[in-house]
């Protein structure tokens, strides 16, 4: 009997993978649990294990083949067939004798200089590596940042280059290690603390707010806290309410914190470098789904991008769409469709949420006279409410229509795929909302 082996989904956000290496050859007899192949996903490299007992009869994909969609058959296993019968009958393939158990591949930190595209994930890692080379007081700490190479592969290679004194795996104790890192920063070090996701930062909220954000002020300027808290924020895919939420507004409420939420790979790099050099506590909000987004970056791009500056992502004359992080992807898509309907959108990428670039917001409104603010976060006291207030206070006379906001629905994130989609702002909703301002 023939049984197909599929490309498995190995993480909530995985849609495709690369078969880096077959670990067996045709004719091999497999027991349950035997490794068949090494698969690389957006998060990690790992082994696919056989779920049944039988003999490998055919490979359907080649060594090194990429972009294999989840659920694609990759091999066939014959059950109740003797090995002898298969030998000589089917084609053979060769596999090298590399050690099988090496799950994580070591990568050289420096990119091939010819490479002109870089992912958000690599941009963050490069920023960390460059700042660690530049300043020995910079160190990285968090859950799975070292040996595991980062739960989302962001810190890949850092342990190999900088060693375990500067790339530190912590126990799963966010309040403890956030407080510890803040204490270290009081004493002159520059910690970069990774929260595996910002959902877990809630455990450390007291130290972030009461110890990191306020000490400079409470001490009359005596003791600053140069620290970065970074990690993925916002909705992930299909992980439900506790692991999928946008906390941007929470942090942006606190005086003493700076809050960055970039979109492009280049901005991730330039802003993270600026955040590490900043003498204040900085919350650096990434997005899991953006990690694999690629962007062209000029060779040897070491530019620091100033904190507190928004950027026009698309110039337009009819309406301004203001957003940050992954929601900008939706704004860009919607703007293409709206252009076909003769609505020319300007898109403003906030990049920094606190301090907010009010000047950029106001000048765009003065140009387009209409505005929709888009965010994944909840609406009440959200980033969009703040932006709308800024517009009301500073650009009311320039408005041709009320400013609208498209936000996450006021519910905990549901698990079911259809409900999850409904909970998040959608392109359709955005297009309809924009069109309503032109009726």
């Amino acid at each position: 009997m023939k049984t197909e082996v599929y490309m498995p989904a190995m993480s909530p956000s995985m849609t495709e993978g690369t078969l880096t290496k077959w670990l067996v050859k045709v004719g091999d007899h497999l027991k349950i649990g035997d490794p068949i192949a090494e698969i690389e996903t957006d998060k990690a490299s790992m082994e696919v294990e056989s779920q049944i007992e039988g003999v490998i009869s055919e490979f359907l994909v080649e060594n090194g083949q990429g972009q294999i969609a989840v659920k694609t058959p990759i091999a066939i296993i014959e059950t109740n067939t003797s090995t002898e019968k298969l030998k000589g009958k089917l084609f053979t393939n060769t596999i090298d004798d590399q050690p099988k158990k090496k799950i994580i591949k070591d990568r050289v930190i420096d990119h091939d200089k010819k490479q002109d595209k870089i992912s958000v994930r690599e941009a963050i890692r490069d920023a960390l590596a460059e700042e660690m080379r530049r300043d020995k007081n910079v160190f990285v700490m968090g859950e799975e940042v070292a040996e595991y190479q980062g739960a989302y592969k962001v810190t890949q290679g850092l342990l190999q280059e900088f060693g375990s004194a500067r790339v530190i795996d912590t126990p799963i104790t966010e309040n403890g290690f956030a407080g510890l890192a803040i204490g270290a920063s009081f004493s002159g070090l520059k910690p970069v603390v990774e929260f595996m996701t910002f959902n877990f930062s809630l455990q450390a909220m007291d130290h972030i707010i009461n110890s990191a954000a306020k000490t400079l002020y409470m001490g009359g300027g005596q003791l600053n806290c140069p620290i970065v808290f970074r990690g993925p924020n916002g909705a992930a895919a299909r992980v439900a309410a506790q692991h999928s939420q946008d906390l941007t507004a929470w942090f942006s409420h606190i005086p003493g914190l700076k809050v960055i939420s970039p979109f492009s790979a280049r901005d991730h790099k330039g802003l993270l470098k600026a955040a590490i050099r900043d003498p204040n506590p900085v919350i650096f909000l990434e997005n899991e789904i953006l990690y694999s987004e690629q962007e062209s970056i000029l060779e040897d791009n070491n530019d620091i991008i100033s904190i507190g500056k928004a950027k026009i992502l698309r110039e337009g004359s009819d309406i301004t769409l203001i957003s940050h992080s992954i929601s900008l992807k939706m704004c860009l898509e919607a703007s293409k469709k709206l252009a076909r309907k003769n609505i020319d959108c300007e898109i403003l990428d906030l990049r920094t949420i606190k301090p907010l670039d009010t000047k950029a917001i106001i000048s765009s409104i003065q140009k387009t006279n209409k505005c929709v603010v888009v965010e994944q976060g909840w609406s009440q006291c959200g980033v969009s409410s703040e932006i709308i207030s800024v517009i009301m206070e500073n650009a009311f006379d320039w408005l041709d229509a009320p400013v609208l906001r498209l936000t996450g629905k006021d519910v905990p994130m549901p698990y079911a795929e259809n409900l999850e989609n409904l909970a998040l702002p959608s392109e359709d909703e955005l297009i309809k909302m924009v069109e309503s301002l032109f009726e």
Binding site: N175, G183, S187, N210, L216, M218, G221, P226, K258
Partner: protein, 332 residues
């Protein structure tokens, strides 16, 4: 409870005894003055006095050297004075004035001095523990052989973050001495009523952190245990716990109704275990100073404290423009 700890036979040198006496007396007179000023409305908000616990911080401060760090909770006036911060600056801060250590923006619970290696002054129960562990982490990172004294109370000893810190401190062998100032009451809840394991020095056992109980009302016991702990931690790295058995004479803060303990209990400790009286007796018994000389010393300290209150009263309120200053540091 206090008598359980071992009796120390070692005697203080003359200079150490006089030094300790001066510092302890300064703290006591300073705190009495702060209490009075609070009553007169010159100090606002929360004000946690250290009266009764003076031997702990004064003794331990005599065990460390330049470069070592101190961090504590909100009952911090004594720690600041022991670290060598000026009574004028501390009192002015209590008064909320421009010449205070925090320019009037921190108050009683939030003062810092990089110069004195004093890292606060933290108002959240338990918060000083991970922060102090982080200071110790930085010493290990910099390989500078400094140790950190991380103070917290018996109440904080039940906080989860304490154990998260213990775990990392032992895991990474951080040079941190955890000083639990057990003054028997977390606000109004006694250790008996709040803590399953009442011997707080043993709270590190499951992490492999050794600890001992020390008679925190006896300066000689404090110094003896402190020196051993500092030597051990400085030479071998790794954390250590000193549980200082002590007592606060005054309420938790100024608004304490004191319904949770009897007057007799306080009187008993004051009369039989007062750390300053004991040290005074030691000084006289050993002829380190005469009664007359002690009187002169007393008068000098009173003058320093009166002067601090005058300094505070004369210091201006912070300028309104200060409101928006130091929310962010402007440059690196």
């Amino acid at each position: 409870m206090i008598n359980k700890t071992k009796k120390i036979s070692r005697k203080l040198s003359k200079s150490d005894a006089i030094e300790a006496y001066k510092k302890m007396l300064l703290i006591r007179r300073f705190e009495e003055k702060a209490g009075q000023s609070y009553g007169l409305g010159q100090i606002g908000g929360f004000c946690h006095l250290y009266i009764g616990q003076e031997a702990v911080v004064v003794g331990l401060q005599m065990c460390i050297r330049d470069g070592d760090q101190v961090i504590t909770t909100y009952r911090d006036h004594g720690h600041m004075l022991a670290c060598g911060m000026s009574p004028d600056g501390v009192m002015a801060e209590l008064y909320g004035r421009a010449d205070g250590y925090s320019k009037g923006k921190g108050g009683s619970m939030h003062m810092f001095s990089k110069e004195a290696n004093f890292f606060g002054g933290h108002g959240i129960v338990g918060a000083s523990v991970p922060l102090g562990t982080g200071l110790a982490f930085s010493n290990k990172y910099k390989k500078n052989k400094a140790v950190t004294l991380t103070y917290f109370g018996d109440g904080a000893a039940n906080q989860g973050q304490v154990y998260e810190s213990f775990n990392m401190a032992k895991l990474w062998e951080l040079p941190c001495i955890y000083v639990i100032e057990n003054n028997r009451y977390a606000m109004g809840t006694s250790v008996q009523r709040s803590s399953a394991q009442k011997d707080l020095s043993q709270r590190g056992i499951s992490f492999g952190i050794e600890g001992e109980q020390v008679n925190g009302m006896d300066i000689e016991s404090v110094i003896d245990a402190g020196k051993r702990a500092v030597t051990k931690v400085r030479n071998n790295g790794g954390p250590y716990i000193l549980e200082m058995l002590t007592y606060r004479y005054r309420g938790h803060s100024m608004s304490d109704p004191a319904q949770y303990r009897t007057r007799d209990e306080v009187k008993e400790v004051r009369e039989h275990s007062d750390p300053i009286e004991s040290l005074k007796n030691l000084i006289i018994e050993n002829n380190f100073l005469t009664e007359d000389k002690l009187q002169v010393l007393n008068a000098e300290i009173k003058q320093v404290v009166d002067q601090s209150a005058q300094f505070a009263a004369d210091s201006p309120l912070p300028d309104p423009s200060e409101l928006f200053v130091d929310v962010y540091q402007l440059d690196a």
